[in-house]
């Protein structure tokens, strides 16, 4: 019978099982009615089948991770756990957003396109007098998709001019997306751009492009190499786990070298390739680095920092006075982590100084302890600086993004250097050029006792630059700091200690920005000092957005981290306030926190600034300056901007 043949493959799989049973059963059942015989037989066959299915299912678990990983811990901000809503029963009330409230959210001096969605910074560089900035852009919607390379230029990293789109998905090898990439300057000063393309079959490949007209300082047009793609996913690497090539650096043998992040199972890795012409590559068998349980490494960045000088270094610099930084964006957690270590050029590997805080370890170092991702540095040969760009997404609902017509901004570009006092972390600071936006200022010297909130009268409070230093006293004794570690010796954290309303002996104290008169909405940016082991003082720097808005359909986290405060240092803080973005910097940029906030009342003329001291025992003395910040008037380029006579 045909049907018996169909059965055969199945029964042969379970031969060990069914044979022995079917052999036994007929003997013991010869005297039983046929109906029962068949029923039992079919029941056992079904059991055998079920067992087989279970066995084969276990084998097909390959796609599902069996290792534990931080699935819900430290997950992306728009998490359903504890930050948005954690149960199906909880309701979130809509805030009646209107265009007046929404349009206030647009920033005045942070880079953002005129409309629609933006994400990763791409290929930043300085060329013929202009800083160039490219970015992942959706020309069609205020959510991610249809990605092209947007383009803008500036003389000073602050006053940007929108240029036409630089690259679109017009080839088979980038038909599904012109994704993130980096620029390299060749020895003759010409530019090559490597970027990831998502092919017409959804494979991630690396492509080469270069300016069509090198004499055009605006680099308006780009040409894609006819031999693209120059790199495809190598054996053992997933077709969708191969993206974001770095700027290349010169090896001691004179070749160029790049690294590309990926993953193998749950281990984040960085692949290494050498090339002489950017068209053909040799892949190393070894990896630049890998860290287990960190997941996919996106937007890897690799660069040298000076151990002794506070200037930037060209990506190819190497030597005894240099450390190397590996940075990666963790796909799992949406956090940018970095680590400092030593690069061995001869075997193309890198070893962290402190493996316990290796790249991607959750307790490791971050550029920013708030909302900050897909960051990328470049060497600014104009002023000898290494400059960092970071993508700052929204923390509101996508419906609001669609209604207001845009989503995401870039952080203010920051200089990055090694902290020459601790040697264990980087220090970031907004580029000097931002000071050109400073208008009028007011200087204050205040002493505020425990449990006080003081309004700071500066007039308009939506576009501010604040620089402050603090000293604390208890019982008339001034407290001195003397940290020599990069890690806290107690488990205090901004988040788990009730945010800014929790009162301790020595904190919290700081500023409440984007507040309304009644403090029904406010965003505190503050220090919280505690006593650690041996009465040593520990300082955390935090931003608490939990009361930043009355609206509940936005994410309102409490961000922060431990910040080292060394002997002889005062506590210092800088805050840039620009409508819906707040960037905080502690101890000269040893710890940075970027937040997105969406007040409904503390907007336009109603926005206020407060100083507060919620400590129980400490009196805080502070000296600070508040500048009004001008708009950067970012606009589309015109011939007026180029100093070119308009008749030509």
């Amino acid at each position: 019978m045909a049907s018996t043949e169909a059965l055969l493959p199945v029964t042969s799989l379970q031969d060990p099982l069914s044979e022995s049973r079917s052999d036994q059963i007929p003997e013991t059942r010869r005297r039983r009615p046929i109906k029962v015989h068949l029923a039992v037989y079919s029941g056992l066959l079904l059991i055998a089948l079920y067992v087989t299915l279970i066995v084969t299912h276990d084998g097909s678990k390959a796609e599902i991770a069996t290792e534990s990983r931080p699935r819900m811990a430290g997950v992306s901000e728009k998490s359903n756990d504890g930050v948005w809503i954690s149960s199906d029963d909880r309701k979130v009330e809509a805030f009646p957003w209107n265009n007046t409230i929404l349009s206030w959210q647009r920033t005045a001096f942070h880079f953002q396109p005129e409309k629609n969605w933006m994400n990763d910074p791409n290929g930043p560089l300085f060329y013929k007098g202009w800083y160039h900035f490219f970015y992942q852009y959706n020309p069609n919607a205020a959510v991610w998709g249809d990605i092209v390379w947007g383009h803008a230029v500036s003389k000073d990293l602050i006053h940007w001019l929108y240029l036409p789109i630089a690259m679109v998905p017009d080839q088979w090898y980038d038909a599904n997306g012109v994704w993130t990439g980096s620029a390299t300057f060749l020895d003759d000063g010409s530019i090559v751009m490597l970027y990831t393309g998502s092919t017409d079959e959804f494979v991630q490949v690396q492509n080469l492009a270069y300016p069509e007209d090198p004499s055009d300082p605006l680099l308006l047009k780009w040409v894609k190499f006819s031999g693209n793609p120059v790199l495809v996913p190598p054996p053992g690497i997933g077709a969708k786990d191969f993206r974001d090539p770095t700027t290349a650096w010169k090896t001691s043998s004179g070749k160029w070298r790049i690294t590309i992040g990926s993953k193998i199972n749950r281990t984040g890795i960085s692949l290494i390739y050498d090339t002489t012409d950017f068209k053909t590559y040799e892949k190393h068998d070894t990896l630049l680095h890998q860290v287990p349980n960190t997941g996919m490494w996106e937007c890897v960045d690799f660069y040298p920092v000076s151990k002794t000088q506070v200037n930037g270094l060209d990506t190819s610099v190497n030597g005894p006075d240099v450390k190397h930084v590996i940075k990666a964006s963790m796909d799992d957690t949406r956090i940018d982590h970095y680590a400092i270590g030593t690069y061995d050029d001869s075997n193309a590997t890198w070893v962290p100084d402190n493996p316990s805080i290796d790249v991607g370890i959750s307790t490791g170092l971050r550029y920013d302890y708030g909302k900050y991702y897909a960051s990328k540095t470049f060497y600014d040969q104009n002023k000898g600086r290494r400059i960092l760009w970071g993508w700052i997404g929204e923390s509101d609902s996508e419906a609001a993004d669609v209604q207001k017509g845009w989503s995401s901004v870039q952080g203010i570009p920051r200089t990055v250097v090694l902290d020459t006092r601790t040697h264990k972390n980087l220090v970031q600071w907004p580029v000097e050029e931002i000071k050109s936006l400073r208008l009028s200022s007011k200087k204050f010297d205040m002493t505020i006792g425990p449990g006080t909130v003081v309004p700071v009268d500066v007039g308009s409070a939506t576009q501010l630059d604040i620089e402050a230093e603090f000293e604390i006293k208890t019982d008339d004794l001034k407290l001195f700091f003397d940290d020599d570690s990069v890690e806290a010796d107690n488990k205090f954290s901004c988040e788990t200690n009730g945010g800014s309303t929790a009162r301790g002996a020595l904190g919290p104290f700081g500023f409440s920005v984007l507040a309304d008169e009644n403090l029904s909405e406010q965003t505190p940016v503050y220090f919280y000092v505690t006593k650690g082991k041996h009465s040593k003082l520990n300082t955390v720097f935090c931003t608490d957005t939990s009361r930043s808005t009355l609206a509940n359909d936005v994410v309102k986290p409490i961000y922060g981290s431990f910040v080292p405060v060394l002997k002889g240092e005062k506590l210092t803080m800088r805050i840039l306030v620009d409508h819906s973005i707040v960037e905080g910097f502690a101890q000269g940029g040893r710890s940075c926190i970027t937040s997105r906030v969406y007040p409904t009342k503390a907007i336009y003329g109603a926005t206020k600034l407060f100083l507060f001291n919620n400590a129980i025992d400490a009196t805080v003395t502070t000296s600070f300056t508040v500048w009004q910040m001008n708009n950067a008037f970012i606009h589309p380029y015109s011939s007026d901007d180029l100093g070119v006579p308009s008749s030509t």
């Binding site: 029923a39 728009k78 809509a94 959510v143 991610w144």
Partner: protein, 162 residues
């Protein structure tokens, strides 16, 4: 013989589901039975990989959003006193259809699942916001609850792709 034929039918049905990763995948989500029933109801489910399962569920989100929008449209006449809340829900559910779903489909197909996670989470958020506008007397409770549940399950599967 009739018994034999019935048995063979059952055997064949079970063979079809051999190789399916639906059950082990759904075990890692917050709602196993919902997950299994949604995925089994789609003919592509039994042979889909993890991405494929995620895309099937996003299709379900799309279908549920469409169904909910139709319900909202019908409610304007039946419950005119709820106009304001219905307007908000309409806006929110249109976001699910026009922004969240296309974003999630593109992201998962192209292998950048984190943007898919954003879209899927937002679908749940938009449903919650819609629900919140009724102050406890919502005619859409069962539909919005379904969206929240499907969003949670889908998100768990999308996270497996990260």
């Amino acid at each position: 013989m009739k018994m034999m034929k019935v048995m063979m039918l059952i055997v064949m049905m079970m063979m079809v589901s051999e190789g399916s990763i639906i059950e082990p995948t759904c075990k890692e989500t917050p709602d196993f039975s919902l997950c299994v029933s949604l995925l089994n109801s789609d003919p592509r489910g039994s042979s889909a990989d993890t991405s494929g399962l995620a895309l099937i569920l996003i299709d379900k989100i799309k279908g549920l959003a469409t169904k909910t929008l139709n319900e909202i449209n019908g409610l304007y006449k039946k419950r005119p006193e709820l106009k304001r809340a219905l307007d908000e829900c309409s806006r929110r559910y249109k976001t699910i259809l026009n922004a969240d779903v296309p974003e999630a489909i593109e992201a998962i197909s192209k292998g950048v699942p984190k943007f898919g996670e954003d879209g899927v989470i937002d679908a749940g958020v938009e449903a919650s916001v819609c629900q919140g506008g009724f102050n406890g007397r919502s005619p859409l409770t069962s539909l919005t609850k379904s969206m929240q549940k499907i969003s949670n399950v889908t998100r768990a599967i999308v996270r497996m792709l990260l």
